[in-house]
C-alpha cells in the first residue's frame, strides 16, 4: 500500500517518496518545515490513507522519554497501601502505559506521531534511540520486555527549536516540507474549498504571495494561514473584484489579522504603505 496524499491533503512526489521509503524500510520519518505547512497533519493523513489507527504523542518542554514508555505511580500505591486497598500488592496496577507502549501493544500496525520533538529536553531523542531502533523496551518494575507486535509507522515533527542529536538523526529519514509553489497551493486550496470562484482564488493567492514576499516579516503567513483567511473571505462575502482592487501599498486586505499574526508585522505593513505613498 502506498501513500499518495489524500482527498484532503495534497502531497508532492518527493513527500510521497519519503513517506513510502520510511514505511517500507521501517524507519522513523522526521519532518521539518516552516510552521503551518502541514507537518503534524501529515501523520493524520498517512493514518487515514493507509486506514490505520493514529496514536499521537505531543511533546512539551516537560516531557521525558520515560513518559512515552510508562510511568510508575508510586504515590498512589503508597496511599493505597496505607488505606489497605485491594490490589496494592500487584505493582502492575500502578503502571501507567505511555504512548509508545500503546503503539507497541496494538493488534494492528498503527501510525505513531511524535509531535514537536524539539520542545523537549536536548537528551530526549537520545533516550529513545534503542526503543525506536529495536522497537522494544524493558519495564523494570514488572521485569518485562515489551516488544512491538507490529513496528509502528513513526512520524516525528520538529520546529527546529533545538538541534537534534546526530545519533538520532542517523536512524531517521528526513524530509523538509518547503513552502508550496503556486500550482500546489492552488490544488491545496481546491481541496479545502471546492467550487470556490476561480477568480477569487487567483486574486487571493496573488495578494498572499505579495504579502509573503514583503522583506523583513517576522512570521511569513503559510498554508494554514491562507486557508483560514480564505474561510474569512468566503464568510465575509468578499468578491474577487473587491480583492483585486486592493493595492498593498495603500492599505491592508480585509481580515489581514489572520495572515499577519504579530504587531511588528502589522506595523511594518503600515509603514511600507506610508513609504510608497510619499
Amino acid at each position: 500500500m502506498k501513500f499518495q496524499g489524500t482527498d484532503t491533503y495534497i502531497s508532492t512526489r518527493e513527500l510521497d517518496l519519503s513517506v513510502n521509503a520510511a514505511i517500507t524500510l521501517q524507519r522513523p520519518l522526521l519532518i521539518k518545515g516552516e510552521p503551518g505547512t502541514g507537518k503534524t497533519l501529515l501523520a493524520f493523513e498517512v493514518a487515514k490513507a493507509l486506514k490505520k489507527n493514529l496514536i499521537s504523542w505531543h511533546i512539551k518542554s516537560t516531557s521525558d522519554a520515560q513518559q512515552g514508555l510508562y510511568e510508575y505511580d508510586a504515590v498512589s500505591r503508597l496511599r493505597d497501601s496505607q488505606l489497605g486497598y485491594e490490589g496494592v500488592e500487584n505493582i502492575a496496577n500502578y503502571i501507567k502505559k505511555g504512548k509508545l507502549w500503546e503503539a507497541f501493544e496494538a493488534e494492528d500496525q498503527v501510525v505513531l506521531l511524535i509531535d514537536e520533538i524539539d520542545k523537549a529536553d536536548i537528551e530526549f531523542p537520545n533516550d529513545l534511540l534503542l526503543e525506536l531502533d529495536r522497537m522494544e523496551f524493558y519495564c523494570y518494575e514488572l521485569q518485562l520486555t515489551v516488544v512491538a507486535k507490529h513496528r509502528p509507522i513513526i512520524v516525528i515533527t520538529s520546529n527546529n527549536e533545538k538541534e537534534l542529536p546526530d545519533a538520532f538523526l542517523r536512524r531517521c529519514f528526513f524530509h523538509y516540507i518547503s513552502f508550496p509553489d503556486k500550482e500546489t497551493l492552488t490544488s491545496i486550496v481546491d481541496v479545502h474549498y471546492p467550487g470556490l470562484e476561480n477568480k477569487l482564488v487567483d486574486s487571493a493567492l496573488k495578494l498572499f504571495y505579495e504579502i509573503r514576499d514583503i522583506p523583513g516579516l517576522k512570521k511569513r503567513p503559510s498554508t494554514s494561514e491562507l486557508i483560514d483567511w480564505l474561510k474569512l473571505l468566503i464568510f465575509g462575502k468578499i468578491t474577487s473584484k473587491e480583492l483585486s482592487s486592493i493595492d498593498l501599498t495603500k492599505g491592508m486586505p480585509p481580515y489581514s489579522g489572520s495572515l499577519l499574526k504579530n504587531e511588528q508585522d502589522h506595523e511594518l505593513f503600515g509603514n511600507m504603505g506610508y513609504r510608497f505613498r510619499r
Binding site: 512526489r13 518527493e14 519519503s18 521509503a21 524500510l25 504515590v75 533545538k162 542517523r170 528526513f174 523538509y176
Partner: protein
C-alpha cells in the same frame, strides 16, 4: 553501486555514514522508486541528508555527479538537424552571448566550426578546450566556461523543463556556510540557547522528591534540579565605524539576536581596537564614555566576552602607544586586549570578514594568535564553533 556518489558526499564534508548508504541500497532494492533520476534524487536526499542546511550542498554535489550521466552522447547528437540546434541556441543565448558570438565571427561561422569538429570527433568527451563535451572551455558542449559556447545537451533544450530540481537550489539560504540572514540568525539564536542550560542544582523538584520519598517508604528525600533561568552573562564588544561600515547590517542582526537571547547582556562599542574607554550609545560616543577599567571592575569573570570586529587595522593601532587613529592613547590597544583576556578567560572573537580573506591582513593574524585561534567568521557555523569555544578558557598572559 553508488559508492562514488557516496564518497563524493563524504569527501565534501556532508555527514553521511555507511549505515545510511546501506539503507539507500536497501531502499533501492525494495523498489520503492521508479527508475528515474528525479526519484533517486528524492530518495537519496531523504535518506542521506538530515539537516535542511545541508540540502543545498547536496544539490550541488548531486548535480555534479549526475551531469555526466545526464548529457547525451554524440551518436545521438549527430542526428540532431542543424536547424533545431540553431533555434534552441537562439532561445538560450542572452543578448550578451550573442554579442560575443558576433565577436567570434557570427553564428554561421560558429556553426561551421561545430560541424567541422563533429566530423573530427568520434568519441564522447568531457573537459578539455577543443572537443565537444561537458565541463570544458571549448565553445561547444555543456556546462562549460566559455561564454560564447554552444550548450549541447544541457537541461533546458533537452528536457523541455526549465531547470532540474537540484539545479534550482531552493535550499540555498539554508546552507550554514553562507552569511547569516534573518532566518539563519534565528537559527543561530537557538544555538546560543545551548549555553543556557547549564547551572547548579538549586530548585526543588517536587515530583521527583515525592516519588523518591514514596519509594523511600516515607522518609523525606530531597531531589534538586538545575534552575531553568537563563543565567549566562555576556559582554558584547562591537567595533563600529571605519572599515566596519560594510558589516553594519550583520552586526545589527547579531546584536538584536543576542539582546533577545540573554538576560545579562552588556554591550559596548569601540573603534577599531579596544582602548581605555568604550561607549554604549553610538550617537553620543564623545560625551558618554565609560572607562574600560570600570568595565573590568564592574563585571566579574563569570561573564563571557564576545568581541565583534573585522580586526583589520594598522599594526600601529594595535601595538603602539598613541597609535589610535582617533585620539592619543597612553597604552597600546594590545595591552587593553590582554587585560580583557586575563579578566575574562572565556572570550571569543567573531569576524564578519570571510575567512578566505583573513590571510591578507596582518592584524587579523596577530589577533588570531592572541585569541589562541578563537576567532570565528560571523556565519552560522562560525557562531556555533564560537559557542563551543566559550565553554573552555584561554590562558592568562602577563602584561609587560
Amino acid at each position: 553501486m553508488f559508492l562514488d556518489f557516496f564518497l563524493l558526499l563524504k569527501n565534501d564534508g556532508l555527514p553521511v555514514t555507511i549505515n545510511e548508504y546501506l539503507t539507500l541500497l536497501e531502499a533501492l532494492d525494495s523498489e520503492i522508486v521508479e527508475y528515474n533520476v528525479d526519484d533517486f534524487y528524492y530518495l537519496s536526499r531523504s535518506i542521506l541528508i538530515k539537516h535542511e542546511q545541508h540540502i543545498d550542498r547536496f544539490d550541488v554535489l548531486f548535480g555534479r555527479y549526475f551531469r555526466g550521466i545526464e548529457t547525451i552522447d554524440n551518436e545521438q547528437f549527430m542526428k540532431i538537424p542543424e536547424e533545431w540546434l540553431r533555434r534552441g541556441m537562439e532561445r538560450i543565448l542572452t543578448e550578451e552571448d550573442m554579442a560575443f558570438i558576433k565577436a567570434m565571427g557570427g553564428l554561421d561561422k560558429l556553426m561551421d566550426r561545430l560541424k567541422e569538429l563533429m566530423n573530427e570527433q568520434k568519441k564522447r568527451h568531457a573537459g578539455g578546450s577543443k572537443w565537444i563535451g561537458t565541463g570544458g572551455t571549448s565553445p561547444f558542449g555543456a556546462y562549460g566556461y566559455n561564454p560564447e559556447g554552444i550548450r549541447i545537451g544541457q537541461t533546458e533544450s533537452r528536457n523541455r523543463r526549465a531547470v532540474k530540481v537540484w539545479d534550482k537550489r531552493e535550499f540555498k539560504n539554508l546552507d550554514d556556510s553562507v552569511e547569516l540572514n534573518t532566518r539563519n540568525m534565528k537559527m543561530a539564536l537557538k544555538k546560543l540557547r545551548l549555553l543556557t542550560r547549564e547551572g547548579r542544582e538549586e530548585e526543588l523538584d517536587l515530583d521527583k522528591t515525592i516519588e523518591k520519598t514514596s519509594k523511600n517508604a516515607g522518609v523525606l528525600e530531597l531531589e534538586m534540579i538545575p534552575s531553568r533561568k537563563n543565567n549566562v552573562k555576556v559582554l558584547l564588544f562591537l567595533d563600529v565605524g571605519g572599515s566596519m561600515d560594510d558589516h553594519i547590517e550583520i552586526c545589527a542582526q547579531l546584536f538584536s539576536a543576542a539582546k533577545y537571547e540573554f538576560k545579562h547582556l552588556e554591550y559596548f562599542y569601540f573603534h577599531n581596537c579596544l582602548y581605555e574607554s568604550v561607549w554604549r550609545d553610538n550617537t553620543r560616543r564623545w560625551d558618554e564614555r565609560i572607562p574600560t577599567f570600570e568595565v573590568l571592575h564592574k563585571y566579574n569573570n563569570d561573564y563571557m566576552v564576545i568581541l565583534v570586529g573585522d580586526a583589520s587595522m594598522s599594526p600601529y593601532e594595535l601595538m603602539y602607544t598613541n597609535g589610535s587613529v582617533e585620539h592619543n592613547n597612553d597604552e597600546a590597544g594590545f595591552t587593553w586586549l590582554t587585560r580583557l583576556k586575563n579578566q575574562y578567560p572565556r572570550m571569543v572573537w567573531l569576524n564578519p570578514v570571510p575567512v578566505d580573506y583573513w590571510r591578507y591582513t596582518q592584524s587579523i593574524h596577530v589577533l588570531r594568535e592572541f585569541m589562541e585561534n578563537r576567532m570565528y567568521p560571523l556565519t552560522l557555523a562560525g557562531i556555533q564553533d564560537a559557542i563551543k569555544a566559550l565553554k573552555t578558557k584561554t590562558r592568562t598572559v602577563k602584561i609587560n
